[in-house]
Symmetry: C2
Subunit: 477 residues, 2 copies
């Protein structure tokens, strides 16, 4: 694949920038011949691998990983009334095997409640089987009729991490909801992605849930992106699927459930928040290549420079650093462009002058240039990787903080929603929400906000003047 | 989930044993409400994880991992005539999204040639883009009308590793075929699964291939199980999908391709070859738990024993060994049963007498009992893990060797096929093959055999008396 060179669209033209950077940095190819389906390039796949390894590390502390079938028979899928209403417009149906019409149409899972819970009904017998906590990372499908977009709105979600837990009591399930929120915050902290946690209004909760807590971030165009959800399911599904347990007094009870998920939107957020006019910017935790070494070959000292670069590579690799030595026969400038586009946190350059001075030149993806004494290569690089991550985190936090505005009246809400999110003391009445939404073009994201970026506010609803609670309004993807 | 106890069916009743061990050892649950679809239990999933990590390690040396969509539009799927003929009876079709009929029906990939090669046609431009070597691990689908069976014959193959490579010349593609065979042998050596490599007869090759090389093993009931295939695709697909490159003289040429795959049948082989009347037997390379520690709590020295067990766990974990300390309040015998069933290579027991003697009692899953001085715990355990693996490998090799018989005449072929595989100097004529197959109830597996277990033979075809070449005949799954 020949490399395109030349400038990216500026990031403040976010939509063009996003499409173009996915292609230029070899994250996704959008040319697959079905709308809403995309191909992971190897570099994109490597980012995905590191991101999901981090997610699995966190999940593995309190869950067991498992794998359920993709195909759900119509009679199971159609059991839970709310759930059907929420998904029936979006489900793909398999109706034929070979040339035969199937007796029972099979749904491609849009999410796996109706695949997993019939099995949970078999697995859960007594209170000793509880809690049951499992997760899987799978492809799921939505027949999206809206505008599709790689990593954000897809017909095949290739990387859905979904956890499903079963508990004896509603309170225990609620503790799990709280724990899941903490894990998601930890996960996103690792990606340097600032998040805002809030409780979705009732009309926007997961179909079949008691309530839904969402994890949102704010994209560079000011729109909120939902990048995680946590649902308290109560006993809605356990009643439908017959998930019961015998308590310690011998009484049969319906179990209480939760589920929570994260999709490849986590990678959309990672790319969009940190990237710049030169391409991706990746924190070292998930960068497939953390350090690229570019030998500067001038004149007669080529062999010497190559040897030095090779030694550096060995030393860094032995220290567990993901390092790449670029020995292609192209000019250094083309290499810089290539690795900047792909988000490599540190570029090391070594040429005759560096060798003579006993140093290596280092350039971080966030723009700092320094030299590292060759004897301190490993600690020097490790310190720089930390600096890059800190710098990425600060920049993202400042950016998102600047897009959050406390708004005391309707005009302020309208203004704030143009560039980000408004924080409003909404009263909780649907008709006030509708007015705020209509005037601002945004949606109520959620209440009971929890974020380091938002100060809890009290006050009165800007529409009706009743006492309100801290609520977010913004445009969404 | 309450544990079933009591004896497994004996392994010489292989079919019952296999179904029962998958359930008792918590590998797969077969009760999912669609024929041919199964659920991975966490223990089974953990085995899968370790097995596929090994496979990825090998693939990553020479390929880039990637991910293509599941859904293939009808017009792409229907492009290659041979390929259609091979798969059209088995393809699941998505025809509806929500309540709308789709304009273009979408196939669930039975394999990904027709998903990947339209993209390869875009990616390959010049000889500098070659070779291109990618792989993915994905779910694929076959509408199986035959008897389905977990891990062996499935409607959703959950774990298909498929590699697809593109080369400038037929010879370079052939080198890749040879390299792939070596990687597959290496992979199966790591699982202690002996294999036989042979070239499938023309009528049994992959639809659209120049030729197919298969990797087979022999299951405990004497039937051959295909656990890997490597295909030289020539330019069949590149002609169909327009995968061309400009050579160094500026001439446009069709590329040459290969593809090769391994499914979760690798886990079926692992389980079936090594398991015994007490359950799974796993080599340490892929055992989710390599060592289980069972504290023997008698009388007043419970605290002391528990502390010793805890220390042992810490020491082993620090040495990178996957260790589990079983502190459930059940009798030791129930713990032994539990972990034997799940295939844990080593059980360590520690009680007051062991503490007094400064030792730990060790029992391997292959039946050896010994003591390890507590000061030598790590090297002692590592040596035992090696012994278990060697013992598993020897047993599997002896078993499979005993099922391979050189057969010089038709009666010998018939006899050999009852318990395993016959090695015959077949002439290559289809009508001779048909007679051998009809008489023996077996199929021609392949020619040009390559295996440490089979000595190449020359001779004359037992049917027609013409010169033959070393060929395998056996019953298959």
């Amino acid at each position: 694949m020949e490399e395109e060179t030349g400038a990216l669209p500026a990031k403040n033209d976010f939509s063009s920038w996003f499409n173009e950077v996915l292609w230029r940095a070899e994250v996704m190819d959008v040319r697959y011949p079905v709308k809403g389906l995309y191909v992971w390039f190897p570099h994109g796949f490597a980012i995905r691998k590191h991101v999901y390894e981090r997610l699995r590390e966190i999940m593995d502390r309190d869950h067991q990983e498992t794998l359920f079938p993709l195909l759900i028979p119509e009679h199971e899928f159609m059991k839970e009334a709310e759930h059907i209403k929420g998904f029936e417009e979006e489900v793909y149906w398999v109706t034929h095997g070979g040339k035969n019409q199937l007796d029972v149409p099979l749904a491609l899972r849009p999410t796996s409640e109706t695949a997993i819970y019939p099995m949970y009904a078999l697995w859960v017998r007594s209170h000793a089987d509880l809690p049951l906590k499992m997760y899987q990372v799978v492809n799921t499908f939505r027949y999206e009729t809206k505008h599709t977009r790689p990593l954000i709105r897809l017909r095949e979600i290739t990387s859905f991490k979904e956890a499903h837990t079963v508990h004896a009591t509603w309170e225990e399930a609620e503790s799990q909801v709280r724990a899941a929120i903490e894990w998601y915050i930890e996960f996103y902290t690792g990606l340097c992605v600032p998040v805002i946690v809030s409780r979705r209004p009732d009309w926007d909760k997961f179909p079949g849930a008691d309530y839904t807590v969402a994890v949102d971030t704010i994209m560079p165009d000011g729109r909120a992106l939902q990048i995680g959800t946590v649902h308290h399911l109560g006993d809605h599904f356990s009643q439908t699927f017959g998930i019961t347990y015998e308590d310690d007094k011998g009484v049969q009870r319906y179990a209480q459930q939760t589920c929570y998920g994260i999709s490849e939107r986590c990678i959309a957020a990672l790319i969009s928040l940190h990237g710049d006019d030169h391409g991706l910017v990746l924190p070292s935790s998930v960068a497939p290549v953390q350090v690229v070494i570019v030998p500067i070959l001038i004149g007669k000292r080529r062999a010497e420079v190559n040897t030095a670069a090779e030694m550096m590579e060995q030393v860094l690799r032995a220290a567990g650093i993901r390092v790449k030595r670029d020995i292609r026969e192209i000019r250094p400038g083309a290499k810089y462009y290539h690795w900047e586009m792909r988000g490599v946190p540190i570029r090391l350059e070594v040429g005759p002058r560096d060798i003579d001075a006993g140093v290596v030149s280092a350039v971080t993806r966030t723009g700092d240039r320094s030299t590292i004494p060759r004897g301190d290569l490993v600690p020097g690089v490790q310190a720089l990787l930390g600096q890059v991550t800190a710098s990425i985190k600060k920049r993202a936090t400042d950016e998102i903080r600047s897009r959050i505005t406390v708004a005391g009246n309707v005009d302020d809400v309208v203004l704030a929603v143009q560039t980000g999110i408004a924080v409003v003391p909404w009263c909780g009445e649907r008709r006030c929400a509708e007015l705020l939404e209509e005037k601002s073009g945004g949606s109520i994201l959620g209440m009971y906000v929890r974020s380091e970026l938002v100060e809890g506010i009290d006050g009165v609803c800007p529409v009706c003047g009743q006492k309100g609670c801290c609520t977010l309004i913004g445009r969404t993807f």
